[in-house]
């Protein structure tokens, strides 16, 4: 909403700076987003209105002339002027010496100095738009309106300040200049000058010559109309054109401009019909018929349907109620009889109509936000007066006012107790009453010392409950004037949030393991979901996705993170990438309880952990030659083991098939037989899809709710440890290739004196028979009862070897 300061000043005296005004409005909830100043830079003493009284030719130059300019108060000046359009009788902009102007020769702003032009000394200048820095026009001088006062500062005419105001949906009254003026009046303690609405209606009565019928009173609560006959349609006077232009509205003709002016001034949308184009001079407000077609003023043919509301004549729609008029009844050059409509339409229906037709207008925007029925008549009278004033003609006596069910005045009572309960401070009742009065609220007479009852003025439609008035009082006094306290209410009991706590812990553990946290968008393309094996036919889609290629809510984090890996491979992957994301996947919900405990009507939003490892294990180091190697399965598995172990979960890994991961290089992560997730290397086809061909990328994926279920709850229990020393031995075995490390380990760890067994080395090749592998375990022996002797350990080792020979055919490696 663009509000020119000059327009505001018609209704309220403003004696503070535009910046101060903007600040006060903003603090009170009427946010001024920007202030644009125009013509304010012109010195009021030095740039004034002049009258060209005489023009003499320049003796030495054909193109130059010597106008004499009357500057008022008996002051005149004779200057040199090169503009072709200067003429006797013009009001022009005259700059005296010292005025700061744009100098076309030096191409910068500088003070005007005496200049000798072809022998003639010029002490002043008749200015062009460009010299005045009001625009780019440099063709001729600026010619002012004839009614401009000689000698008055030019800045009074061309100067203005435009406030760009963001109006919140609850305050449609602030979509009008008068509404903003009322705010200014309340905030600065100034009175309001109401616009004139009176006029002489000495024509033939409107009654009987025009009929109005509201067929659907739920959708049109009031319809008022006036008739102006004998008008001359033409351009508006310059003040009106200029006012509309400054407010961002294009002038059209005097009748239409008058309706637009009144809408911007007091918020009531109006429409002017050419009465001679309204069949039978009959207005019917009714729902559109199915398939009914109307060409609106913007030239669009629109197919309508109920419950859209139309204004119709005896046979056809002539306007889309509250949105836009019809081309078939438009006021044009030849129009002499204007039927002026000022009505009140239902907000929801207007909004739906606009949404269905994808058509939003100044009128529909206002009706959507809810206007008071009282405003219709006031706006009608204001616009009727204006049309009669600027387009001539005679106003038919009386108005038509169809108002089936006038809204009852709503009274809201505000108590001192509620003010204190909400604001935390006592505000004296006289102050409250004064604030409410300044905003135009009228007291209904039933107030007491501790309360005030008010009815809202006709421009306010947002006050329903007393807390609305609490806000009015607080915002006018100023939120910064309200007290500031810390919460004194007792702190509520704590409820544990195990999922949140676990997620935070996992993030910390992974960051400590050298991983970088990523956060991705929650959407995916079908192709990517299919590639990583996460597509199902009931994947949730967005009706209006941001990106047409990614309309689906992700059912996996794999695709997003692989994309992140791919994006970083060239720029940030020099030392390898270790990335993780802890986010949600959106699993379509079948009837029944939500698996994650959420709303049964909503998808199962499963917290999921994904981690990716690729590239060099670490930065090149003169000490750690391992760092140059590429990360793979065991890097991912190592992080998984540390993470799960750190959470106190015993896990095992079993080979598993996964369409997105390499066969034979993928394992399921299990805890007590329950699946927690997967670790594996990404399959070549998937790598290709993400532009990662040639890379080795290991993924770790964990379902966080399963992790939460598997993690021991409560505090860790202390376990007594043996006071006797540990003995460490290595055991190198030869087994069939097919025997897994876990199979061997299971046998070893079962022995009560074996405290730990960990595979340390695996070898195939020279010295190991075909089809076999050598595997070395590090064993830790310890007894709870005594220090073990070497003999005891040797016996245990022999025993273990016998068991291994039986169970997995293991031989001691020679």
């Amino acid at each position: 909403m663009l509000v020119p300061l000059s327009w505001l000043k018609r209704y309220v005296n403003i004696d503070i700076s535009p910046e101060d005004l903007a600040h006060r409005l903003t603090m009170a909830g009427v946010e001024v987003e920007s202030i644009e100043k125009m013509g304010m830079h012109l010195d009021p003493e030095l740039v004034v209105v002049g009258l060209v009284t005489n023009i003499e030719p320049h003796p030495d130059a054909d193109r130059l002339r010597l106008p004499t300019v009357d500057l008022g108060n008996g002051e005149t000046a004779k200057v040199v002027c090169g503009a072709p359009n200067v003429a006797v009788g013009q009001k022009i902009a005259f700059a005296k010496l010292g005025a700061r102007l744009y100098n076309a020769h030096s191409e910068r702003e500088e003070p005007l100095r005496t200049a000798k032009i072809r022998g003639f000394e010029s002490s002043g200048m008749v200015c062009s738009v460009k010299e005045l820095m009001l625009g780019d026009d440099h063709e001729g001088i600026l010619v002012l309106d004839q009614d401009s006062e000689i000698g008055s500062p030019l800045t009074n005419i061309v100067g203005d300040v435009l406030f760009d105001i963001a109006v919140t949906p609850n305050r449609p009254d602030c979509l009008s200049v008068l509404g903003i003026a009322r705010e200014v009046a309340a905030l600065t303690g100034q009175p309001i000058t109401e616009p004139e609405t009176g006029y002489a209606d000495d024509g033939e009565p409107i009654a009987g010559r025009v009929t109005v019928q509201i067929a659907d009173p739920d959708l049109c609560r009031r319809y008022t109309a006036s008739l102006i006959e004998g008008v001359t349609v033409g351009p508006s006077p310059s003040w009106l054109q200029e006012t509309l232009i400054r407010a961002g509205q294009r002038p059209i003709n005097n009748v239409v401009d008058a309706t637009n002016f009144v809408m911007l001034e007091m918020n009531q949308p109006l429409h002017a019909f050419d009465l001679d184009l309204v069949k039978d001079q009959a207005i019917v407000v009714r729902m559109a018929r199915p398939g009914e077609v109307l060409e609106t003023l913007d030239g669009q043919r629109r197919e309508l349907a109920p419950p859209m509301l139309v204004i119709a004549d005896a046979t056809d729609a002539v306007g889309l109620a509250g949105v836009m008029g019809g081309a078939n009844s438009e006021v044009s050059q030849g129009t002499t009889r204007v039927l002026l409509e000022s009505a009140n339409f239902d907000p929801v229906n207007t909004r739906r109509t606009g949404a269905d037709l994808k058509l939003s207008t100044g009128a529909s925007y206002r009706f959507e936000r809810g206007l008071r029925q009282e405003l219709a008549e006031i706006g009608l009278r204001r616009a009727t007066r204006l049309i009669a004033e600027i387009a001539g003609g005679t106003v038919a006596s009386g108005i038509i006012d169809v108002h089936p069910e006038p809204a009852a005045a709503s009274v809201v009572t505000l108590t001192a107790a509620r003010l204190k309960q909400v604001l935390g401070t006592d505000i004296p009742m006289p102050k409250v009453k004064q604030v409410l009065a300044s905003l135009g609220f009228e007291r209904t007479g039933s107030d007491s010392a501790d309360s005030v009852s008010i009815s809202s003025p006709y421009w306010r439609s947002d006050i329903e409950i007393q807390d609305d008035l609490v806000e009015e009082v607080a915002r006018v006094i100023g939120y910064d004037e309200m007290p500031t306290t810390m919460l004194a209410a007792p702190i509520p009991h704590h409820h544990v949030q195990p999922m949140w706590d676990l997620k935070e812990r996992v993030r910390d553990m992974l960051a400590a393991a050298g991983m970088q946290e990523a956060i991705n968008y929650n959407v995916a393309s079908e192709e990517n979901l299919r590639t990583v094996g996460a597509w199902t036919d009931d994947v949730l889609a967005l009706a209006n996705p941001m990106n047409d290629e990614q309309p689906y809510l992700r059912t996996t984090l794999r695709a997003s993170l692989l994309q992140t890996v791919s994006d970083n491979r060239r720029t940030g992957g020099g030392d390898g990438l270790r990335l993780f994301e802890l986010g949600r996947v959106f699993m379509p919900q079948s009837p029944g309880p939500n698996p994650s405990g959420g709303d049964a009507k909503l998808p199962d939003e499963r917290e999921t952990l994904i981690a990716a490892f690729t590239g060099r294990r670490g930065a090149t180091s003169w000490q750690a030659s391992d760092n140059a190697a590429d990360m793979g399965f065991f890097d991912a598995k190592g992080v998984a083991e540390d993470l799960l172990g750190g959470l106190g979960i015993d896990v095992s890994f079993e080979p598993v098939a996964d369409v997105a991961l390499k066969a034979g290089r993928t394992a399921a992560i299990l805890a007590s037989g329950k699946r927690l997730g997967t670790v594996g290397e990404v399959a070549d086809g998937v790598l290709d899809q993400f532009d990662l061909d040639g890379a080795t990328v290991a993924l770790l994926e964990i379902d966080v709710p399963s992790l939460l279920a598997a993690a021991p709850s409560g505090d860790r229990r202390y376990l007594p440890f043996s006071r006797y020393p540990e003995s460490v031995r290595d055991l190198a075995l030869t087994v069939d290739q097919a025997v897994s490390a876990d199979e061997i380990r299971a046998v070893l760890i079962k022995h009560k004196l074996v405290k730990a067994a960990r595979a340390q080395d695996v070898y195939t090749g020279d010295g190991v028979p075909q089809g076999k592998k050598s595997i070395a375990f590090g064993l830790v022996f310890q007894s709870e009862k005594a220090t073990l002797t070497a003999d005891q350990i040797d016996r245990v080792l022999e025993d273990l070897l016998r068991r291994l020979q039986r169970s997995v055919g293991a031989e001691i490696r020679s």
């Binding site: 903003t26 603090m27 009170a28 909830g29 946010e31 609850n170 305050r171 907000p347 909004r351 959507e368 309960q421 909400v422 604001l423 935390g424 807390d467 609305d468 609490v470 806000e471 939120y479 309200m482 306290t485 810390m486 919460l487 004194a488 209410a489 702190i491 509520p492 704590h494 949030q497 999922m499 935070e504 910390d508 050298g514 991983m515 970088q516 946290e517 956060i519 991705n520 968008y521 929650n522 949730l540 889609a541 009706a543 209006n544 941001m546 809510l553 992140t564 994006d567 970083n568 720029t571 940030g572 390898g576 990438l577 990335l579 009507k601 998808p603 939003e605 670490g618 180091s621 760092n627």
Partner: protein
């Protein structure tokens, strides 16, 4: 044994200097300084040519031993006039200390000749460990949660796919309410029996206000971190996918003054104790009165400055909006079965990206979800 040059024993020259107490102080000072320096230079020169343990010991005895020159120099303080003793003592001690430390260094060199030890080049880089980090959005959320946690707010989370019912209706935003214009909604492509789409990506974290109150009786004091979504073209200052922290406190006796105090305290925690805040009236359908809090950029300590604000930096005050807030609307309280005549409360919503941008000087919001490790590794 290495013989030391004869000059080493020429100590007597010093003694006469102090035998008379009638010498004026400035003279003493200059002469002492010169003598001490001479002694030190001579001793160090000799030390530099010592090449074995025996020579080193002889040197030690002759300078630092019980009758060594440096020791004697110190002892001769008794010959110095009282008013000059302090100065003399300092000079003599300095010589003693310099010689002692030179002795130790030489001893180490002689005991552990270079090339024949496990000495290392300590300037070589250490063995690197991989360094990870938390996303700046996560760390900002943590900081916010910690600040409110200290004021008794507990973390709860809610669904990102929401029902229109919770995202709008129960928050006093019925269908066709013009306030829906400001929540450009991403709808889930499912149509209910009434022809309407019941599900959407939540446009704010506010639905959890309602869900939380529906589940429990007052008092309530929660914060809700999480993602929210709006259909908005993405540029340096707009992101369709963003993070919020919602807050809600409801009990008997909670006031607008508490709202102001709590949020000011939050700003102090995040931006430093000197941060200036201001509250202005704003509109959100689910609060009344509604407010917006801004912080004054110019009041921030340098650490929190960085990204340019929307306004000019040369302005004295520079207010940046950081959150919306207000007293919970009585209709919202009624909707969850709380009696608005008895219970009052406040709610607020904080945009995380804005806070993280301010804290870290990040000028483009798109960096957060680009996941460029050159960005992520900085936090």
């Amino acid at each position: 044994m290495t013989r030391l040059p004869a000059a080493t024993y020429n100590y007597s020259a010093l003694t006469p200097l102090f035998s008379s107490c009638c010498i004026r102080e400035p003279v003493i000072t200059q002469q002492v300084a010169a003598r001490a320096a001479q002694l030190q230079a001579r001793a160090l020169e000799q030390l530099s040519v010592v090449s074995d343990s025996e020579g080193l010991e002889a040197w030690r005895v002759s300078y630092l031993g019980r009758k060594g020159e440096a020791t004697l120099l110190k002892r001769s303080i008794t010959d110095v006039p009282p008013e000059s003793r302090r100065e003399f003592g300092q000079a003599a001690n300095a010589v003693g200390e310099a010689l002692a430390s030179a002795f130790e260094a030489r001893q180490t060199e002689i005991d552990h000749p270079a090339g024949d030890t496990d000495a290392i080049d300590v300037t070589l880089p250490g063995v690197p460990s991989p360094i990870g980090s938390i996303h700046p959005i996560t760390s900002t959320v943590r900081e916010i949660c910690a600040a409110f946690g200290d004021m008794g707010f507990q973390v709860v989370e809610g669904p990102e796919v929401e029902l229109d019912h919770y995202n709008f209706e129960k928050l006093n935003i019925p269908k066709h309410h013009p306030a829906r214009d400001s929540f450009n909604t991403l709808w889930i492509d499912k149509t209910g029996e009434d022809g309407q789409r019941p599900m959407l990506l939540r446009t704010h974290t506010s639905p959890m206000q309602v869900r939380t109150m529906e589940k429990q009786d007052p008092p309530v004091r929660v914060i809700v971190p999480g993602k929210a979504y709006r259909y908005e073209a993405t540029d340096a200052t707009h992101e369709w996918h963003f993070s919020q922290v919602e807050g809600l406190a409801v009990d008997k006796g909670i006031t607008f003054a508490d709202l102001k105090g709590t949020l000011h305290e939050f700003a102090r925690r995040l931006f430093g104790e000197n941060v200036r805040v201001r509250f202005r009236c704003d509109y959100f359908p689910f609060v009344e009165p509604g407010a917006e809090m801004s912080i004054d950029w110019s009041s921030l300590s340098n650490g929190a400055k960085g990204a340019k604000g929307r306004q000019q930096e040369d302005q004295k005050e520079n207010w940046l909006e950081i959150l919306g807030a207000g007293m919970v609307h009585p209709k919202v309280l009624e909707g969850v079965g709380y009696d608005p005549a008895v219970y009052t409360g406040f709610a607020f919503g904080i945009g995380i990206e804005r806070i993280a941008q301010l804290k870290h000087g990040i000028d483009d919001i798109r960096l957060f979800y680009s996941n460029d490790v050159r960005f992520l590794r900085q936090f």
